[in-house]
């Protein structure tokens, strides 16, 4: 009886899940269709013939997804590595060292999380122009290396590491730096991986900052490149879907590889506040 219920529920939930990913399936299938078949109804889920030309169009020409990928990869990787390292350092300070003004500082960090990005756009724009990094990748990389969320997440994790571990090391004569590098960081590998994957996905998907701070097409990241492609090919529906596919595939791969970390990180961060 319960067995049957379980099967029915599984089928029901699978059906709904299929509905959830249907836009992706439609996107991929449309990217291979011929223009005439885009809107045929009932929907053609399996294209009558595989048309690779739309995908070739996306990857060739003046501004191609190869450039966008490289730009996005560069920005996301440098930002993420910087963010993980700098957050870990700060989080250790907040979690494990007693010093004057710590609580006040942490409160300031907290309050900065409430400030909407829109408040910061104009001043950052003026600042970047003044120092000459507006319309360069630095305008995304430099701010990207500082994530308040990362400090919070790792602080939470460091607080959960028993203090006996570092006390024993203190007695053996180790200082904070040594404890941080030799003890805490190796212990925190799962937390660091979680932050790295979540942070990478943010940078990869970041459209708003790129929109505000980049102008030159050869500097475009994947989201901007996608928008650009669609502005220039707004009647080529197959091409649009081929471009969208190119924009989504890397994140799907990251997700499949780091699924466990992403889900755990998202769940942990919200439930703990």
């Amino acid at each position: 009886m319960t067995q049957i219920r379980k099967i029915i529920l599984t089928l029901l939930m699978s059906g709904f899940a299929l509905l959830m990913i249907m836009p992706f399936i439609w996107m991929i299938s449309t990217s291979f269709k011929s223009p005439a078949d885009v809107f045929t109804y009932p929907i053609q889920w399996i294209p009558s013939s595989l048309n690779w030309e739309h995908h070739i169009k996306v990857w060739s020409g003046a501004n191609t997804f190869a450039t966008y990928y490289l730009n996005s990869l560069k920005i996301s990787l440098i930002s993420t590595i910087g963010a993980v390292f700098l957050s870990a350092f700060a989080a250790y300070g907040f979690a494990r060292i007693q010093f004057k003004g710590r609580e006040t500082l942490f409160l300031i960090y907290l309050s900065m999380m409430m400030v909407p990005p829109q408040v910061l756009f104009v001043p950052k724009f003026l600042m970047f122009e003044w120092v000459g990094i507006y319309n360069t990748h630095w305008a995304l990389i430099l701010p990207g290396m500082f994530t308040i969320f990362g400090v919070f997440m790792l602080r939470q994790f460091f607080l959960s590491v028993p203090s006996e571990i570092s006390e024993a090391a203190f007695i053996d004569g180790a200082g904070h730096l040594r404890i941080f590098f030799r003890l805490i960081l190796p212990l925190a590998k799962p937390a660091l991986a979680t932050l790295a994957i979540i942070d990478f996905s943010w940078h990869w998907n970041d459209y708003e900052n790129a929109l505000v701070f980049l102008i030159d097409k050869d500097l475009y990241t994947v989201p901007l490149g996608l928008q650009n492609f669609i502005l220039e090919n707004n009647v080529d529906y197959n091409g649009m879907m081929a471009a969208a596919t190119a924009g989504i595939i890397p994140m799907i791969i990251v997700f499949l590889v780091g699924q466990h970390y992403i889900i755990q990180g998202v769940a942990g961060s919200a439930v703990k506040g």
Binding site: M13, F89, M112, Q227, F255, A267
Partner: protein
């Protein structure tokens, strides 16, 4: 002895936090302070001079019809949050224990959230295509002769955005609900069953109240997350048709980077901050209640 130790600790503390603090100062605190100053000026990009105009920008905002429209659209946008949460709760309860392929199903539901970005915006743009798009094709197929024009009409455009946003947030809400459900002691659900409660009763009277802190948390954080977002809307409609999808956050972007009214944009962005502040205070007040449930 003790004093010098404290001093050393403080120095070490700043050594650890310092590098991060420099960035937070440069990219968060200074811009925030500067934006606060800009709110009281008539700063326009490339304008020869900037004047201090006092509360003019705030007065202008109060009298700007478009601000009212943007505010209204923002509230329609926010409707997506509770709807998405409701669906996510149902999915989470179903996926918590009593199905096969749990992990795969969770991943599938979560997929939209990770593939955020403009890509999905464009996919939905075609799905919603009014005359021959698959969604209206389906609606006609089930007998609706006059399906909505979705993104191309002022009446429906904001609701179309809501549907996309519900779809987008569902997986995120579901994961958080799942985490909360797993904290519920098995005995409580078991006890309800022994007392003869039907599954539906158990969900309504045992599970739902027990996850209410999570519901509250998701509601507030969801509202904050939604109110800040403008990427999806910018990518699909740029606020149109008319101004039917101009939400507050997009309105700020447009004023700053399309019309270069940067002083005015700063003022609206602080209005946005005030709204987020209200949600945050609510969350903080709520937190006190949910610690001991």
């Amino acid at each position: 002895m003790h004093k010098s130790w404290m001093k050393r600790q403080s120095r070490l503390g700043y050594l650890f936090i310092g590098p991060n603090m420099i960035g937070v100062l440069l990219f968060f605190i200074i811009p925030a302070v500067y934006s606060f100053y800009l709110m009281f000026t008539d700063y326009k990009f490339m304008s020869p001079e900037t004047n201090f105009v006092g509360l003019d920008n705030i007065r202008r905002m109060m009298n700007d019809d478009l601000f009212g429209v943007a505010l209204r659209n923002t509230f329609v946008f926010l409707l997506a949050v509770p709807i998405s949460m409701g669906l996510a709760f149902i999915v989470a309860v179903a996926l918590n224990k009593s199905v096969y392929w749990q992990k795969t199903l969770r991943a599938l539901y979560f997929m939209p959230y990770i593939t955020s970005g403009v890509a999905i915006a464009f996919v939905w743009m075609l799905l919603f295509q009014p005359s021959s798009g698959p969604i209206n094709g389906f609606l006609r197929g089930i007998g609706i002769t006059n399906p909505p024009g979705w993104l191309s009409t002022t009446e429906w455009s904001m609701y179309a955005i809501d549907i996309i946003w519900i779809w987008f947030m569902l997986g995120y809400n579901m994961i958080i609900y799942l985490a909360a459900l797993q904290e519920i002691p098995e005995e409580l659900v078991e006890a309800a069953r022994i007392d003869g409660a039907r599954p539906w009763q158990t969900i309504r009277q045992v599970i739902w109240p027990l996850v209410s802190p999570t519901t509250f948390l998701l509601l507030i954080t969801g509202l904050i997350m939604t109110i800040k977002n403008f990427g999806i809307i910018q990518a699909i409609t740029q606020g149109g048709p008319g101004n039917s999808t101009t939400v507050l956050s997009l309105f700020i972007y447009q004023n700053a980077f399309r019309y270069y009214e940067m002083g005015y944009a700063a003022a609206i962005s602080w209005a946005l901050f005030a709204i987020i502040m209200i949600f945050t205070v609510l969350q903080w007040l709520g937190q006190k209640r949910w610690v001991h449930y």
